[in-house]
């Protein structure tokens, strides 16, 4: 009985948790509700994932209203992966958030923080689960608005301007997406993704479809922070509360990338997007320039969060480049990197968060010999940093290996070479920080606070859970690769 209603529960649980937090208002209780809701969400998404693996696509008519009238949830292996990834990362980070919220968010507003978090989670899960194009926009707005709010909770006043900048850029992106969906509706008369996809081949010649395609491309590029439309990202990551940064980095851009995949591969179809519209001509240069330049820029950042933010833009470049290959192997590599990078980058931001929690900020100058004071945090940073570089036995290696071999299979040697070049930059920007944290002798004018010690257990444990998962993903790469390969096949095959 309940197994049939899982898709609805996936959304309803976090959505109800949000007003509950507002009603109760006690900080600790709100946190408990958030964690509990998140655990339930994680269990639900796991159950859905298993169900999709064994029984194939789930189609769920919300409220019993069948597709053209009502909203349909459509879950194939790609959606299942996204649901699992988002709920897992959110679950880990929300546990971690407790200490950081107590320290940096104004006491009376904790309940709002958790409420916004739950809404944001609802939005992200909703985008990943829905099979209705307009519903995507609705959930996108829910997640974005709550995310602006979460960013503005940052203790620094600059968080406000960062949030405002994100709001402007995000709203432009969202309106572009809305306009795109509107034109699609005008051209095909449908909002259900499966219906749109089936009508696109007849409507291809219409100018409205062309316009819709262009608006969606730009809108999604802004939302997923593809170079050169990544301007909002660095400030938002740097000034948001640390738990929010970790959550944002692991999920928000990844979900936008999923939407991009869904629209270009399933709805418009591979042939139209990459054959007719030459999408790779637009996206590939942006992606390549992104991962080369942004890795280079990351080297020169003195603030760790800013460094990681630019590195994120670079990683998004890898993912887009993998999509542009438009082949089974390329798409698999892209999806694997969505998973792996989501996990690795969240772990990295969590370790930086631990540093900020104790040191107060994350300038690389004040991290001298930090290993002596915070060994577990620094170890976590090093291990996930190695994953970012793509050292063998880490998750990053799996995705880079598959990306490079996919580009070689396609005959695009240059992509492989440039990916490696940007990995070399990654060695520099990670290595620089590691060297400071391990070997630089503390100086006399050291701005480290006195009595510096290891971060609290409630922050370390979730971080290490995430690390353990990333190690598992790195060692048994075939497991994630086969899941991603199923998803890629489903996307390339279009809707049945």
């Amino acid at each position: 009985m309940i197994a049939d209603q899982l898709p609805a529960l996936q959304i309803v649980i976090p959505m109800l948790a949000a007003p509950l937090c507002v009603l109760i208002r006690r900080s600790f209780v709100c946190w408990c509700i958030a964690v509990l809701a998140n655990v339930l969400v994680l269990a639900t998404s796991w159950a859905i994932f298993k169900q999709v693996q064994s029984e194939g696509v789930i189609r769920y008519a919300l409220g019993g209203w069948a597709a053209p009238t009502g909203i349909e949830y459509y879950i194939d292996s790609m959606n299942a992966i996204m649901l699992l990834l988002v709920s897992f990362i959110s679950c880990v980070v929300v546990v971690y958030a407790h200490e950081t919220v107590r320290k940096s968010v104004q006491t009376g507003k904790h309940y709002l923080f958790y409420a916004a978090w739950m809404l944001c989670l609802t939005g992200l899960l909703g985008i990943s689960i829905t099979g209705d194009a307009f519903n995507v926009f609705v959930f996108l707005e829910i997640s974005s608005l709550s995310m602006y709010m979460l960013i503005a909770f940052g203790s620094d006043r600059r968080a406000l301007s960062a949030s405002f900048r994100y709001l402007i850029m995000g709203s432009i992106g969202a309106s572009f997406i809305l306009i795109g969906i509107g034109f699609l509706y005008a051209a095909t008369g449908a909002l259900n993704m499966v219906d749109i996809a089936s009508r696109i081949p007849d409507a291809q010649s219409q100018r409205a479809v062309l316009v819709a395609f262009s608006f969606l491309t730009i809108g999604l590029m802004i939302k997923s922070a593809v170079f050169p439309l990544h301007g909002w990202l660095a400030n938002a990551y740097q000034h948001a509360p640390i738990a929010v940064t970790a959550f944002l980095a692991g999920t928000a851009t990844k979900v936008s990338l999923y939407v991009l995949l869904r629209f270009f591969f399933s709805i418009f179809g591979t042939n139209y997007s990459f054959g007719g519209m030459l999408l790779n001509v637009v996206l590939l240069p942006a992606a390549v320039a992104g991962f080369v330049l942004m890795s280079l820029v990351a080297i020169f950042q003195s603030d760790l969060r800013r460094m990681l933010a630019y590195s994120s833009v670079a990683q998004i470049g890898y993912i887009i480049a993998a999509f542009c290959l438009a082949s089974q192997a390329g798409l698999t590599a892209g999806i694997v990197h969505i998973i792996n990078h989501g996990i690795i980058k969240t772990a990295l931001f969590m370790s930086v968060g631990c540093i900020i929690y104790r040191v107060g900020h994350a300038h690389s100058d004040s991290l001298d010999n930090l290993f002596k004071k915070m060994p577990f945090t620094v170890c976590a940073f090093i291990f996930s940093g190695l994953g970012l570089i793509g050292v063998p036995l880490t998750a990053g290696f799996i995705s880079k290996f598959s990306l490079i071999s996919a580009s070689m299979e396609r005959g695009w040697w240059m992509i492989g070479v440039l990916v490696l070049l940007s990995s070399l930059f990654a060695i520099v920007y990670v290595g620089r920080v590691v060297e400071i944290m391990l070997f630089r002798k503390a100086r006399t004018d050291n701005p480290q606070p006195t009595g510096l010690r290891e971060a609290p257990l409630l922050m370390l444990v979730p971080m290490y859970v995430l690390l353990a998962v990333s190690v598992w993903v790195g060692i048994s790469g075939s497991a994630t690769l086969s899941v991603a390969s199923d998803a890629a096949a489903a996307l390339l095959g279009g809707y049945q």
């Binding site: 070689m408 492989g416 630089r440 075939s478 690769l481």
Partner: protein, 484 residues
């Protein structure tokens, strides 16, 4: 016998090292020596199993769709594993004397990373496919990085940066593409008898480029211009230079190349198609040029470092000549050079600890003060040069024979020229120490290194001589390699 057992002792000892820590350092070092002896025993079991023709292999761990991590033993790997584990024990004994005599900081971290590096070397020695070897190769780079920067001062941090940058740039920028290229062309990364590329339909040019990517990408083999990290890394404590930068790290590089030539390319493909002729001149240049640079260095460790670069290129050359004789010679040279060079490094460290001298020009007359050390130095130098009664002569003969077998006498000439240069830069050191009078005003008391260190030096020097008299077991073991 599962070769995975070889990873157990060095990994298992790490918790013990941390647990005993600085306070109970005798127990800490005893545990390492016990682990080393157990490891040697395990390697010996693997050795007898391989000699008896048994299949020695582990299960597999699927890392990427068609590619998995897997260990198995074959003659070259067994030889390398035995070598590294034996020298680990000796070096640990030596370190006890050296690190305490030198009052080094962070000894616990030092021993941990050391054990970790040995575990990685075991993984490389028994790698069953190129992916496993690549993983172990990277792991060695990372686990030895803290050893290079051990001192934590500016010079060592700079050296560490160069170390990491050159090795990682080489491996990720050149070697990894080569691995992926092989994977796409051959569809597998397994080490197979006769190589996997013969029926992949690659053009000669592609094979040549691939070979170049491997030779320069494997930065640990220190072929010019990828050699800069090696002399820089000599800022590390002497036991590190001795075991890691004369044996484990650099030998992993040349071992990788030997294995790839034998089991990935196949010696026929490398020798007949002439593709190696593009790379060989660079290797020959490295042999000569680094010998000449060694000649100009007055710092003892720096001179030894450049000598290492030149000797490594012998092995690379042996691999690229790709005849059965030369590859056997190359594999043998891994062992012979290891014992010679580790003796020399141990002596250099001993001189630094007891006399606080690092420059060769200060060593006049020091033979009287450290007679045992200097005699051992002399034996080690003979081993490197390849003169009886020391071990290097056999491997050099085989490589020289291999170059004739390959039908090109020019490489033989390069070897001989470099031998002359070896004599010129190594022999004067003990000669000065024994026959030149000491500078006036210096003490003339006998002042040998701490007992533990001295013991290690004598052991390695003795093995140098023993391997000259009894090279047969090694050559028999290498005779088990299946070439085609």
């Amino acid at each position: 016998m599962n070769p995975l057992w070889a990873l157990v002792p060095p990994l298992l000892v790490i918790p013990f090292i941390i647990f005993f820590g600085e306070r109970r350092r005798n127990l800490r070092e005893a545990s390492i020596i016990i682990a080393g002896i157990v490891l040697l025993g395990i390697n010996d079991r693997i050795y007898s199993a391989v000699k008896a023709g048994e299949l020695v292999e582990s299960g597999e761990l699927s890392l990427l769709a068609n590619f998995s991590l897997r260990l198995s033993a074959e003659p070259m790997g067994v030889l390398f594993g035995l070598l590294a584990s034996f020298l680990w024990v000796v070096t640990t004994v030596y370190s006890i004397g050296y690190m305490r005599g030198h009052d080094e900081q962070n000894q616990t971290r030092f021993y941990c990373c050391f054990a970790l590096a040995i575990a990685c070397v075991m993984g490389a020695a028994y790698a069953d496919n190129l992916l496993t070897l690549f993983v172990a190769y990277e792991a060695i780079t990372l686990s030895t990085f803290p050893l290079v920067t051990h001192a934590g001062n500016d010079a060592s941090r700079k050296a560490g940066r160069l170390y990491l940058l050159l090795l990682m740039c080489g491996s990720i920028g050149l070697f990894l593409p080569a691995v992926i290229w092989i994977a796409t062309a051959a569809g597998t990364l397994d080490f197979r008898v006769g190589g996997i590329l013969s029926d992949s339909g690659m053009s000669q040019l592609s094979v040549g480029v691939l070979l170049g990517l491997c030779v320069f990408g494997v930065g640990k083999a220190a072929v010019m211009p990828m050699h800069r990290w090696l002399p820089a890394a000599m800022v590390a404590p002497t036991p590190v230079s001795a075991l890691l930068h004369a044996v484990a790290v650099v030998k992993t590089g040349v071992f990788t190349l030997l294995k790839m030539v034998t089991y990935t390319f196949g010696i026929d493909m490398v020798s007949t198609s002439g593709v190696a002729n593009v790379v060989l001149p660079v290797v020959a240049f490295t042999v000569i040029a680094s010998s000449i640079i060694a000649f100009t260095k007055d710092n003892l460790k720096a001179r030894l470092a450049y000598s290492t670069i030149s000797q490594l290129s012998y092995i690379v050359m042996a691999a690229l000549l790709a005849t059965t004789m030369s590859v056997t010679g190359g594999a043998l040279h891994i062992v012979m050079h290891a014992f010679g060079k580790i003796t020399l490094f141990f002596c250099a460290g001993a001189i630094m600890v007891s006399l606080h001298k690092t420059q060769i020009s200060d060593l006049d007359g020091m033979g009287r003060r450290m007679p045992v050390t200097m005699v051992c130095f002399f034996i080690g130098a003979l081993g490197i040069i390849g003169l009886p009664p020391a071990s290097g002569v056999w491997s050099k003969l085989l490589i020289a024979g291999g170059s004739l077998e390959a039908g090109n006498a020019i490489w033989l000439a390069v070897l001989m020229l470099s031998t002359i240069l070896n004599i010129a830069y190594l022999l004067p050191i003990p000669l000065r120490a024994f026959f030149k009078p000491a500078a006036p005003g210096q003490s003339v008391d006998v002042c040998e290194a701490p007992f533990a260190s001295l013991w290690a030096i004598v052991v390695t020097a003795t093995v140098c001589v023993l391997l000259f008299v009894f090279p047969q077991p090694l050559i028999e073991l290498l005779g088990l390699i299946q070439w085609r």
